[in-house]
Symmetry: C2
Subunit: 297 residues, 2 copies
DNA sequence: TCCATGCCATATCTAGAACATATCAAGATC
DNA sequence: GATCTTGATATGTTCTAGATATGGCATGGA
């Protein structure tokens, strides 16, 4: 049995005439009669009652007509679906993010843009640390990720810098400076600092330490936190101050005050986009190009 | 696109090798390669990545593989279903019954036997009067019916007498005879009678009247009821006595006493099975033969 | 009663497609 | 670098879908 038999049978069932169905199908009547008979033979079932005028479905034929229509529409749907998947308009992608990037408006709008452009792509989001995310991408558990720090150990991955955002000084509200204006590194160094631990992002960590050192005011680090969000929580609790990427400034609006940092060169934290160099999935490639487009990179 | 392409693609996807899939399919490798390529061309989508060892599915190929399997199993199911329908093992039938036959054990067991033999046949049951049921069968709204009276006006229908059951005398409990034994027609004639109206079943009605007349004791009919069940309700209310088919003797066990009728020849009511002479549906034909088998007719 | 009409079935032919055989090419493995 | 594995290509053969021509049968009108 082939789809041709089903297409022919459907046409005959709907026309009620073999001759008329043949016209609609663009073939002649005898081959259509033969094909229908071949189908009946293979099934071992009479599908049509031949009447003096036209044909009508038997009980079995009526049941088979239902299934025939379902199969043919499923086949059509499968064809259009595979084409959409090949164009990256359907499918599924798994995207990771580290906790300090998801609040950045550019990241949010990138993900929103993807959903808008390819609503049939199911995007699943996973939060984890930069290193873990990179490993998951290399192991094909994820397809891409927004991270802060570029791990060195993954030559098969590519990292695209989407943006640099300034670091802010986050101070407990009750100890805040009078003005909301910029604060110099020297003044910041006078505050007791909570900082995330170096292993969570050594490059930025070293840049911060070096910046303080450059203006002759080594910072006073009184507490280490596992990450920037944890450090912010400690600030909110009044334990000290810290430096966080600007996009976190919506956190703890009551308990924490955020001040721009006056530093030269400015202290900034990057948002990186990680993906496999040899990516084949059309949905992922489409996602990647949308993200780069939105970020202008 | 034909089912052949889908069968071939499924085999290749599952084997991961074109050559090995060709073996399983019982064809040679070159035509299989060509068929797969033809499928890819028609879809305009690359389904396979050709590797040094075998092939693997692309994203689009994986999506298409899912749909392919669904379509192929649907096609197989459609084939087996149409065969079951043709054998009368699946489908749907609409059966009618008049109110006084459904309680007969032979009717119940006939319907139960059909459900047991062809559980995939959906049986819908409709209650109505004998004339209405016959009309519905002739109009193809029903397929068959269990009735009491054979209407004359339907030459296209066949009526099979499944059984004859004796009539019982139903008497209000407080007026019952002392013994549970048979009651002669003459004694019954002394009671005030409730009888269903003649139009509901003229043949049996006339037989009853004639039987009374034959022993010289015309009955005293004090009330007419639309049918036997309604008459029984009146008996239960103490309005009088009536004659009902034996299978109704489970009704009103507290309020009504049932006595066999001593009459020669015995007064009996038939159960008829009505169906179209030109029935084509295999499910209905199967139902009919099961009913006749169970009834021994 | 006869003929015209409409529609499906049968017989036969042809062109195209599916499949087989033989061979090649590319990458992997030793 | 030789060999093996595996898919691609080239070419011939078989089978079958479809075309053409014709027959059969029932219906409807003259």
């Amino acid at each position: 049995m082939e789809l041709r038999h089903l297409r022919y049978f459907r046409a005959v069932a709907e026309a009620g005439h073999i001759t008329r169905a043949a016209e609609r199908l663009g073939i002649q009547q005898p081959p259509l009669s033969l094909q229908i008979k071949a189908l009946e033979n293979e099934l071992g079932v009479q599908l049509l009652r031949r009447l003096p005028r036209g044909v009508e479905l038997t009980e079995a034929g009526a049941a088979f007509y239902e299934d025939t229509c379902a199969i043919l529409t499923d086949a059509d749907r499968a064809v259009s679906r595979v084409r959409r998947v090949a164009r990256g308009e359907a499918g599924q992608i798994a995207v990771g993010y580290s906790s300090t990037v998801i609040s950045h408006p550019a990241v949010k709008s990138a993900i929103r843009a993807c959903r808008g452009q390819a609503p049939e792509v199911a995007v699943s989001l996973v939060e984890d640390g930069s290193y873990e995310l990179a490993g998951a991408i290399a192991a094909h558990r994820l397809d891409a990720a927004f991270i802060r720090t570029e791990p060195e150990e993954f030559p098969e991955l590519r990292f695209i810098e989407l943006l640099q955002e300034p670091l802010l000084l986050a101070v407990p509200a009750e100890e805040g400076f009078a003005s909301a204006g910029p604060v110099s590194l020297a003044r910041a160094a006078a505050l007791p600092l909570v900082l995330y631990r170096r292993s969570a992002g050594p490059k930025l960590y070293d840049r911060i330490i070096a910046a303080f050192a450059a203006c002759g005011t080594p910072p006073r680090i009184i507490q280490e936190a596992p990450g920037a969000n944890a450090a912010l929580n400690l600030v909110a609790a009044g334990m000290g101050s810290t430096l966080v990427p600007q996009s976190l400034c919506a956190a703890h609006p009551e308990a924490v005050r955020y001040h721009p940092l006056a530093a030269d060169p400015p202290l900034t934290a990057p948002v990186l986009f990680a993906l496999r160099r040899s990516e084949t999935s059309p949905a992922v490639r489409r996602f990647v190009s949308t993200v780069r487009e939105v970020a202008g990179k």
